[in-house]
Subunit: 381 residues, 2 copies
């Protein structure tokens, strides 16, 4: 009798501990880089739901999401690939897949997770469900700028070899790769929101390599020949993140390299049509989802500032000091709020993008990247 | 003792019946119009998870989703507004809010659900959590083309009064409305994907009314003066759905009215730049999320056909016969597949958009609208 009662209590508490049934459309993660941990967050309640430890070296970490929004795949600097269950608040699976990695991507159908590696170079293809290694593409070079494209394809750039590679993983165990000369030392890449154009920024020369993934046979061509460090070779405190490029109203907004400027480029001609003076060397230049505003953060020593550009006028309409060392920004899916990580203030600030008022502050241990599950439904993230 | 055992069994079965913990990013609903029912579907497994009865008259029904992806709000023709819990597979709340309704929208922050009504006209504003009525805006006219805009705003058109109204619900109990003359008998409206331009098609005259929601003070202006039924007043078997308008690569693709054509319009100048001959009178003209393809379905008697336009060439690249009475189409969030409802074949066909092969067929009772949770994160849906 007593045993049964105990059993009953156990089962009752078992039921009680079952995580709440809830949607995943308003979830996300914040990288706590110093402690190898991520915070699972809720963008409706503006709260931290759980923390997950044991992710290794999370400097320069990034994340993608499963198509159901339940799992985050976190790529750590130490080559760790960790699948986190956002609903159960725990690690579902973790593998060390390389010695030095800087990110990854997920296929259009959500079945393949691909990591890009510095050491030993190349990309590796994993089953998104099990993290089983399905195939790899050796490159003999550091890989940068990996981005998913429609049709189970992935584009990436080879820093040492100066090439853009386009790999088709329709058959994930038999990758088919096309290779295109791109220019000296591509250092990052991005794909336009429609998944059509892949661009790689060049560190070893001025200009950007552009590949039209709808006509890859035409090869990569060079655009924006004046984009780069230029003749003077200005000191660069932090390389801008191309992944932050904003495309709004037929214009691309790019971080200048070494200069206190945001460049405005016509996406029909890929020519520069203007420059906007800003507070420092821009790092992320990100469009609010409705593309009415562009938010910009900066490299040291100006990394306590954030500026907002109004796209119809290309004027700066707001300058904020949200905290010390603003490393990353993430908009809520429909853009009514933006989350900013302030690493040296150990907090995340949440701002209303219409009024620029702070709605909430969340404690976080040296926060860097912020990633929301709505990325699961977008291309090139 | 026996009572305790029974209790234990009850609790065990209670645990067992707890719905699976799962993500909501790959969920959706299919309207089964003849039976007042919706099917809850999973786009990863390509399966029906549950069916929910008791939704009343679902002819011309549409749906929006909560920002967490857990709830669907279904607007029925009979004025019923039903909140469905997709995870528990049941009705969470249902109200009869009007006598005759044709749809609704959800605010940028997900807190307000707004219904547009024919009888008695006007819009009604509900708390998304409780469906409590917060306010209403009487119009003295049938309301059509309701669409959400950034900043808790909603745009809609008045069929009888020939106006576009823009209502700000920043304070949901005190709506603030601006009114703009638009033209004779607007019959539907849409907002561009960036949430900037609201367009209302006119039934009583040729042309389309365009309001720039970034500069509403400039008022609505008329564009595409040759768009409409024209001098000949062609018979129109089914009014096209403007909500289906596709915008791809700086071009809008519109269903012609009464003609077997899709119109191509430059979105910078809003001038017509081409026409594409198709199988019938187009109803929905929808862009695949990467905008590489436009899918078109047709009014009776050609409603067994679907055609696919390749956007770089504006050529028809595929003609399909997916079933009898194709009423609606919905792309998976990243566009690798499309779901088509075949009302008179009582099934939904799921196609690979790259190969045009059928991947699966799901039985459904007179299916019409198909809506996936990824709409929660988009503007103007």
């Amino acid at each position: 009798m007593k045993a049964l009662l105990t059993l009953l209590v156990l089962f009752l508490s078992g039921c009680a501990q079952t995580p709440a049934i809830r949607g995943t459309g308003d979830l996300g993660i914040v990288i706590e880089r110093a402690s190898g941990r991520v915070a699972i967050v809720d963008t409706t309640a503006r709260s931290v739901l759980a923390r997950v430890d044991g992710l290794g070296d999370l400097s320069h970490a990034s994340a993608v999401f499963s198509r159901d929004g339940r799992y985050a795949y976190v790529f750590g600097r130490d080559g760790g690939l960790t699948k986190i269950d956002l609903l159960l608040g725990r690690i579902a699976k973790r593998v060390i897949q390389a010695g030095n990695s800087i990110g990854g991507a997920i296929s259009q159908d959500g079945r393949l997770v691909v990591a890009q590696n510095y050491t030993p170079g190349g990309i590796k293809v994993f089953d998104a469900a099990t993290l089983e290694l399905l195939s790899e593409v050796p490159t003999g070079s550091k890989v940068v700028g990996l981005a998913d494209l429609p049709g189970q394809r992935f584009a990436y750039a080879l820093f040492d070899a100066g090439e853009i590679w386009l790999t088709d993983l329709s058959n994930p165990r038999e990758p088919r790769t096309q290779k295109f000369p791109a220019g000296r030392q591509p250092y990052d890449g991005l794909v336009t929101p429609d998944g059509r154009h892949y661009m790689a920024g060049l560190f070893g020369e001025d200009g950007i390599a552009l590949l039209d993934a709808w006509r890859p046979e035409a090869g990569a061509r060079k655009i924006l020949e004046n984009y780069g460090r230029g003749e003077e070779k200005l000191p660069v405190f932090k390389m801008p993140h191309l992944r932050g490029w904003a495309v709004a109203g037929g214009r691309a907004y790019l971080p200048a390299i070494g200069r206190h400027e945001v460049l405005v480029v016509d996406t029909a001609t890929w020519r520069e049509v203007g420059r906007i003076a800003v507070k420092g060397q821009p790092v992320f230049v990100m469009a609010r989802p409705d593309s009415r505003q562009i938010w910009v953060n900066f490299a040291f020593p100006n990394n306590g500032w954030v500026q907002v550009i109004d796209t119809p006028s290309n004027q700066i309409v707001q300058t904020l000091q949200p905290g010390k060392a603003i490393l990353h920004m993430e908009f809520t899916p429909r853009g009514e709020e933006v989350w900013l990580s302030a690493r040296d203030d150990n907090m995340v600030g949440i701002y209303d993008t219409a009024t620029f008022t702070r709605k909430a502050t969340l404690a976080a241990d040296s926060p860097s990247g912020i990633f929301f599950t709505s990325r699961a439904h977008r291309t090139g993230f």
